[in-house]
Amino acid sequence: MTATPRNAGKPGAAELLSAHHSPARRRLIRVLGLGGLLVGVLVAVGLSLFLGSRSIDVSTVLEALSGGRSGDAVEQMVVLDLRVPRTIVGVVAGAALGLAGTLMQGLTRNPLADPGLLGVNSGASLAVVISIAVFGVASPAGYIWFAFLGATVAAVLVYAVASGRTGPTPLSLTLAGAAVTAVLTALTTLVLLRDLDTLAQYRFWSVGSLVARDAGTVVTLAPFLLVGAVLALVLGRSLNGLALGDDVARGLGQRVGLTRVVAGIAVILLCGSATSLAGPLVFVGLVVPHVARRLVGADFRWIAAYSLPLGAILLVLADTLGRLIAQPAELEAGIVVAVIGAPVLIALVRRDRGVIR
């Protein structure tokens, strides 16, 4: 009876950490689980610093991080200049994408939605292509503001088109996102078909990767990320109401339109920042909320909290793994994320009975 459509609201078998416990105890378990995930982030960060085409031992890494100079200079440089920046970017972008995905699925009431639906990726892609073709930008760090601008403009456009006069509905958002994505992707392709040099650069950005990123850009984007994260975490209760349908949410005294606008802004800030840091990596935003939902059930406040560390773990581990499996070359994080994430998602979907209809 997995095909019955109306089980979405029930606390189904999906809630591993919360089934059959009193509220206080459930809360405790969830907090502990969150702590466990944070430890997981630390482990992933550690692995990302130690492992790579050159495996570096713990003492050298620690010494490099603490500013000591007695160890191997090359290894210290590898740690500080290459691994630290990509690890930071991985943690930040992964967490942001996970959270953005949670918001997106709540906003569109569609478990299939990912932040890419708002046109974020296609906007960022077009802007990056223009930056290469017209302005001759030649490094991932140089793409950042173009990507951020492109992502924002595209998402605002989608939102505006979807809103019309009546405000966005889940369906209109989905359709508008797909249409804007189609337009922007076509424009991007048009440029790429006529400009071989741009294609040569762009294709490496377009798979999504953490290589040659500048940790300083994280600091630059920090305000956007922080505002987005705070908005997202505050919205949890409203998204819970929205999940019951617009009318019920209104009946509960919520301002549905306001919730949608704020959630949209948060998605744009989070996903735009992440995409400009790491390239189009949306799959994180699709998988992570599903994993989080599986762990804590249907409460968006907890899904949002869990999606932050889960996203960071997924992206950092994917990047680390990409360095290991294709030595001496590397596999881009975006490719590895799909290779790890797709089976995880499929396994979750196959096992799930309650939440995914």
Partner: protein, 376 residues
């Protein structure tokens, strides 16, 4: 709703009935009034359906005429007709019968097939995101085709074959993985999306490792394009399309029942799981045939059915399917006319036009419909 299954549920029907179960007359108070109203609604629906279909067909004919008349050598309509009958000059005959007609026909076939693929998937799975370009069918075809182009160095019909195989393999994988006590709609779509990302990653990998020039030619295929069309290619596509259409005609009544919900359909005597499988097979077939012929032309499958439904104002399954096919054909044919003739001296793949020109127009249509009809 709990308790909506079989068996008398106390309190669900009129409250103080003394008997053991409520009589049938309490369920349908006045059958005649209901039927009269239904007939009235049907009549309005029929008129609108005829108008919509008529307009679409006229549009298609106009576009077809343009496709045959326009070109490096603009032909007078009379000459086109003569050439179609084989009575024109040798040069005209070649241009019309050898170049323009095959291209037009392929565009029509591909458009209709994409439209039907999207329509069947979306109503079968009950989700507007469930079109072949979202659930991995197109991506599977693309990954296989890009692999054939970049790794094996294939071209032409070999690439089409690879694309077809890729689409079928992905569809088989989705069905296999999604089947667990029957195929639930969202599970199917989500697994499809997961595989789409996987295929996308593979495409990204292949494109970044290949020579840029080869990558660019793979990109042309990836946008979707209708170029010079070979006779046998057209014949294969048309035959496959015909078989699939016959299959769909046979299955359409059951699709309609499935749309009422699996349990209702089962109650009406439909064997749900095999029917779903067959319909999936047909939809995959349409998507695979179209993609093999023209590449994954952007957006057509996704949007044909929503447009058709909006134009029809919520008509039955059969007319929605026909209208979706017509909309798909109009979109691809129109886009190909624009791609060939709107930018002089520039060959633009048709997929770019469906993206740049098609999407906003279709979107505007949807937005207008949204405003007048409320939420969908």
């Amino acid at each position: 709703m709990p308790g909506s299954g079989s068996g008398p549920t106390p309190g669900s029907a009129s409250g103080p009935t003394p008997g053991p179960r409520p009589g049938p007359e309490t369920v349908v108070p006045d059958p005649l009034a209901d039927r009269r109203m239904l007939a009235a609604v049907r009549r309005i629906g029929l008129g609108r359906r005829l108008i919509v279909m008529g307009v679409l067909v006229v549009l298609l004919v106009v576009l077809a005429c343009l496709a045959l008349v326009l070109g490096d050598r603009v032909l007078a309509p009379g000459d086109v007709v003569a050439s179609l009958l084989g009575l024109g000059s040798g040069g005209d005959n070649f241009v019309v019968q050898g170049l323009r007609l095959p291209r037009l026909t392929l565009g029509l076939l591909v458009g209709a097939a994409f439209g039907l693929a999207g329509a069947v998937f979306q109503s079968l799975l009950g989700n507007p995101l469930a079109s072949p370009d979202i659930i991995g069918i197109s991506q599977g075809a693309s990954a296989a085709a890009v692999g054939a182009i970049l790794v094996l160095g294939w071209g032409g019909i070999g690439v089409s074959f690879a694309a077809f195989a890729g689409a079928v393999v992905v569809a088989g994988l989705i069905t296999l993985l999604a089947t667990r006590n029957g195929v639930a709609g969202s599970r199917f779509v989500l697994i499809g999306i997961a595989l789409a990302f996987l295929a996308q990653a593979l495409i990204g990998y292949l494109l970044t490792r290949a020579d840029v020039r080869d990558a660019q030619s793979a990109l042309v295929w990836l946008v979707g394009s209708i170029g010079t069309v070979k006779g046998e290619e057209l014949a294969v596509t048309a035959t496959a399309g015909l078989v699939l259409v016959i299959g769909l005609i046979l299955l359409a009544p059951r699709l309609r029942m499935l749309q009422l919900g699996d349990e209702t359909a089962a109650g009406l005597g439909v064997r749900v799981t095999p029917t779903r499988l067959l319909l999936t097979l047909v939809a995959v077939g349409f998507a695979a045939v179209a993609t093999a012929a023209a590449g994954p032309v952007a957006f057509v499958a996704f949007v044909a059915a929503p447009i058709a439904r909006r134009l029809l104002g919520g008509a039955g399954t059969a007319s929605a399917l026909v209208a979706s096919a017509l909309v798909g054909a109009v979109v691809v044919t129109g886009a190909d006319v624009i791609a060939q003739h709107a930018f002089p001296g520039l060959q633009v793949p048709v997929g770019i036009v469906t993206g740049i020109v098609g999407a906003p127009i279709l979107l505007g249509l949807l937005a207008r419909g949204n405003r007048t009809r409320g939420t969908a």
